[in-house]
């Protein structure tokens, strides 16, 4: 399989010096929205992938999803509860949002395979956000079980999007076994600690030939923008929106932050300088 994926803004800084190039959005023929996120051949206008956990109600969740303009949203798979009111499946369906089932709660590759097969049957999609975590306290991915599960799911025909550590080597291994994207964490799930190792995220972005989605740790809009400025192709978040004091307002903030960060990345930021560089002409 060949990848045509190119990474806007990833050129070495030296290439940008001397011959100023117009940002892609201003080039003749470029249309607004002509910068799709492509995962496994599927194209998305939005680069914000949302979760659904933690929302105070389905009503608030639905409004927040609408404000976020997301097109891809994770759900978990659990035993049917006879007294459940409404369904997240209905919310996604009527808003035209593609469901991305996850394997949250799985601690072994075997658990994850079983959950993924059930999710494929329930949601009629072979896309799976693969989570295999090591313990409840940190919810950090277990790299050994994760890689094993990823390889086996790819072999079974799944489109695998693994939640992974911010480890460039593991990200590369996941890509090598055929994952459709890699989703390194910024910080532990639900922590709101932001991106703890931006250098590693940049290393992952540099080497990856599949989309890189920052997943977990984002607490506020500036952190989502930073992820995109670092070169991530998309941001996945849930808690930052669903547990915000005003989830709908935060959802809109995240939408704008992802768009702003993406534009800034494509535009090519100025080099950092040690001293001032006058922006006004010298006095004659």
């Amino acid at each position: 399989m060949t990848h045509t994926h190119t990474r806007a803004g990833a050129e070495p800084a030296a290439d940008r010096v001397g011959a100023p190039r117009r940002p892609a959005a201003q080039r003749p023929g470029a249309q607004a929205g002509e910068d799709p996120l492509v995962i496994a051949g599927c194209s998305f206008t939005s680069r914000l992938i949302t979760g659904t956990g933690g929302a105070p109600s389905l009503r608030v969740l639905e409004d927040a999803l609408a404000a976020s303009e997301t097109e891809l949203t994770t759900v978990a798979l659990r035993r049917v509860s006879p007294d459940a009111e409404g369904s997240v499946w209905d919310v996604l369906h009527r808003n035209g949002i593609r469901p991305l089932p996850n394997t949250a709660g799985c601690f072994t590759a075997g658990d994850a395979l079983r959950t993924a097969r059930l999710a494929r049957e329930a949601l009629e999609t072979d896309w799976i956000k693969l989570e295999v975590v090591a313990d409840e306290r940190t919810l950090l991915p277990d790299p050994v079980e994760l890689l094993d599960a990823a390889e086996r799911l790819v072999d079974e025909g799944f489109t695998v999007l693994p939640y992974t550590n911010d480890d460039p080597v593991l990200a590369r291994r996941l890509e090598q076994v055929g994952c459709a994207a890699v989703m390194p964490l910024g910080a532990p799930i639900g922590s709101g600690l932001g991106i703890r190792n931006p250098h590693n995220i940049e290393l992952i972005v540099e080497q990856a030939e599949v989309p890189v989605v920052i997943d977990a740790g984002i607490g506020t809009a500036s952190e989502a923008a930073l992820a995109m400025e670092l070169g991530c192709d998309a941001v996945m978040l849930a808690t930052a929106v669903t547990r915000a004091q005003d989830p709908v307002l935060m959802a809109g903030a995240m939408r704008d932050a992802v768009n702003a960060g993406r534009a800034a990345r494509r535009a090519g930021r100025i080099p950092v300088r040690r001293y001032a560089q006058a922006s006004s002409p010298a006095v004659d």
Binding site: G54, L58, T74, L77, S87, P99, L100, E121, A122, K129
Partner: protein
């Protein structure tokens, strides 16, 4: 005949099908998947698959998460 449905022991009539078990839990079987003794039963097989004594049936659906 006793079976385990979503972790709870329940008595069901002999020759009960997976379809009947699902219907006993939810009237909206869209977005639902079934595992019979940890093996997925495709929707097309629900009506013809009978549960047996002490079988474990898990009926799952999408919930808020991630």
């Amino acid at each position: 005949m006793d079976v385990i449905i979503n972790g709870e022991r329940r008595a069901v009539a002999p020759r009960t099908t997976v379809e009947e078990v699902v219907r006993s839990l939810t009237q909206e079987p869209g977005g639902v998947a079934v595992a019979l003794n940890d093996e997925v039963v495709p929707k097309a097989g629900w009506a013809t698959t009978e549960v047996g004594e002490n079988d474990s049936i898990d009926v799952l659906t999408a919930v808020q998460g991630g």
